[in-house]
């Protein structure tokens, strides 16, 4: 009976316009973002290159110097990026607050702000402004030295004062700057990274992480509509009472419906991942290694599956509970907050719905963050399970009541 219900639900999903739009938007988005020449550009580093990309360093001096460099730029533009509630919030300081920020900066560096500005202009002037690579290198190399004898504890206290001025969720929060500072890689480091990419990630796994980064953005949003549409379908088609009268338990109906939607949502993800992975399997061969052919299943399975699960499960729960489309507003707000709320585009795995990894490689960094990443995904997996259990409970209560728990008999 469960199997029959499951396949019936799959057919139902296939007939849905929302699902069709989901597939089209997902495929168009992911193919437009994953540039076709990534495989061609992936090369072993050669000695003597001008730029090898960046890596993250957690050295205290580097953290202080990098954070103070950001501070000079933020004071100069008076444009402070914060994420107080997970959403982007641009903050502008008053003249008095700006003066206070300058005084804090001067206390850390021992130099007047005007001198720091001149140094900044001098630094960026050494690079070719028309080249994106040069500008990346300029940004990665920009540092502001602390004054002699200035300790990390003093720096932490100073940054706390800055947070007091700009508000919560800025780059000057301890949790943010402790993540580390991006520094330019040397040839040796770049070679080490490349070897890790070949040996540990077997190329395809690294590429699948980049795939998951882009796919994770749309998968935080699109499944909401599939879930809401399906959960409202019975009511809209006026078959809710018929469904309530069926002998199948609420658990069987909801779980089969949920799994059918989940499977149908996952199919385009895995098929697209499989197709996009192929050039990288070939690329791995050119490096003399065998790419991980199953990466299209294993990496998105851990990375994206919990995300799709929780988005879908929550849309089921909210829609069953309210019999409205309110899940669309709540969850779109959550998803957009998660998109804009990432402190960094590589490795911000705190309780974020969307796990960002906007780079091809950085295998060593990923290994160091893997535990946090797995905890994040396990949390969302469990949350999805809880949401579905709650949905079953709500469904059974509605069944006993004979209709909506919230509304009387109006269409919403």
């Amino acid at each position: 009976m469960f199997g029959a219900l499951f396949f019936k639900e799959c057919k139902q999903v296939l007939k849905s316009l929302v699902y069709f739009i989901y597939v089209v938007v997902f495929v168009l988005f992911i193919t437009s973002q994953m540039s076709g020449d990534s495989a061609v550009r992936l090369q072993a580093p050669e000695p003597g290159q001008s730029y090898y990309g960046t890596t993250v360093a957690k050295d205290e001096t580097l953290i202080m110097e990098g954070t103070l460099a950001n501070l000079v730029e933020d004071i100069n533009h008076n444009s402070w990026v914060t994420y107080p509630l997970g959403f982007y919030k641009g903050v502008t300081l008053t003249d008095r607050e700006t003066e206070q920020a300058k005084a804090i900066l001067e206390r850390c560096t021992g130099k007047p702000f005007e001198v720091l500005l001149e140094e900044m202009a001098g630094h960026f002037g050494q690079y070719d402004q028309s080249s994106a690579e040069e500008m990346d290198a300029a940004q990665a190399n920009y540092r502001v030295s602390v004054k002699e004898g200035f300790t990390y504890a003093e720096f932490e206290a100073a940054m706390k004062e800055i947070c007091g001025l700009v508000g919560k969720g800025s780059a000057y929060e301890k949790s943010s700057y402790e993540y580390g500072i991006r520094i330019p890689m040397t040839y040796e480091l770049a070679k080490e990274e490349f070897d890790a990419l070949c040996e540990k990630d077997r190329v395809t796994r690294a590429y699948m992480r980049l795939f998951c980064d882009y796919a994770g953005i749309v998968l935080a949003i699109l499944p909401i509509f599939v879930g809401v549409s399906r959960a409202l379908w019975d009511r809209r088609a006026k078959v809710q009472q018929v469904m309530f009268s069926k002998p199948a338990s609420g658990a069987r109906i909801i779980v089969s419906r949920y799994l059918a939607n989940l499977v149908m949502l996952c199919i385009p993800v895995f098929v697209t991942a499989f197709l996009l992975q192929q050039p990288f399997c070939y690329k791995a061969q050119t490096f003399g290694i065998r790419g991980d052919g199953m990466a299209f299943l294993t990496v998105p399975g851990v990375w994206l599956l919990p995300e799709i699960m929780v988005v879908l499960a929550l849309s089921f729960l909210i829609t069953e509970l309210t019999d409205t489309i309110v899940a669309v507003f709540v969850q779109v707000a959550w998803a957009i907050g998660s998109i804009f709320g990432a402190d960094v585009l590589v490795g911000d795995f705190r309780m974020r719905l969307i796990a960002r990894w906007n780079t091809l490689g950085q295998t060593t960094l990923f290994s160091s963050l893997e535990k946090g990443f797995l905890q994040n995904r396990a949390y969302y997996f469990l949350l999805a399970v809880v949401c579905i259990i709650l949905t079953v409970i709500v469904y059974e209560r509605k069944r006993r009541k004979g209709g909506s728990l919230v509304w009387k008999n109006t269409e919403r």
Binding site: L85, Y88, I221, R236, E411
Partner: protein, 208 residues
């Protein structure tokens, strides 16, 4: 006239009220998401284009909600009243609320002591937010599914975050880049989509 007033009041009471409530929450909690103090042109445009823009989606997409119910739709079809007569008061109501919301945000930003051209930003914001809302409106009209309307409007918004170059003159978030000339395209697009939405519903009605 009284008839349209009653029909619109019934629409507000039965379907539109939760959306108006959401708009109220959207305004009340805005201080937690956006800052209104001392904004420069690009920052003020960002508040309008990336935050207030959602008001358009919230207000214009659910205007066909009653017709999702087959019984209401059959009843409306059986009457001699043209569809545009039914939808025009709803559109005007959404437009009025939308203008109020945008003006309120503008007032907050002006009070915060910003440095931007109020007239250009206001004109652009009205047109852009109306255009985004009309996308949801039109998608709902064609599919008779409000969820699809929201989906298309939200996808259009998200596509503009990284792929505005593919959308030509109808790309959103132009004022953030200092480009204030797109308002006419947004306005024309909005008028075309709103009118087309009503025409589509009229055709569906006649076809049965």
């Amino acid at each position: 006239m009284e008839k349209y007033g009653k029909v619109t009041a019934s629409f507000v009471k039965r379907q539109y009220f939760p959306h108006l409530l959401l708009i109220l929450l959207f305004v009340v909690f805005s201080g937690g998401f956006v800052s209104f103090r001392g904004l420069e042109s690009a920052q003020a445009a960002k508040v309008m284009e990336m935050y207030v823009a959602f008001a358009g989606i919230l207000l214009f997409t659910p205007l066909f909600m009653p017709e999702q119910d087959r019984e209401i739709w059959d009843l409306e079809r059986s009457k001699r009243t043209a569809m545009w007569q039914l939808y025009l008061p709803r559109i005007l109501l959404a437009l009025l609320v939308c203008i109020l919301v945008i003006s309120l945000f503008m007032g907050l930003m002006v009070r915060g002591g910003g440095n931007f051209d109020v007239g250009s930003l206001l004109l652009g914001a009205y047109c852009e937010i109306l255009f985004l809302g009309s996308i949801g409106f039109f998608a709902s009209a064609v599919t008779n599914q409000v969820v699809v309307g929201y989906m298309i409007a939200v996808v259009y918004y998200v596509v503009n975050i990284g792929g505005g170059q593919y959308l030509g003159r109808f790309a959103l978030f132009q004022m953030m880049k200092g480009e204030y000339g797109s308002w006419i395209y947004w306005l024309l697009g909005a008028v075309a989509l709103l009118a087309s939405g009503v025409v589509v519903r009229e055709r569906v009605r006649r076809r049965g």
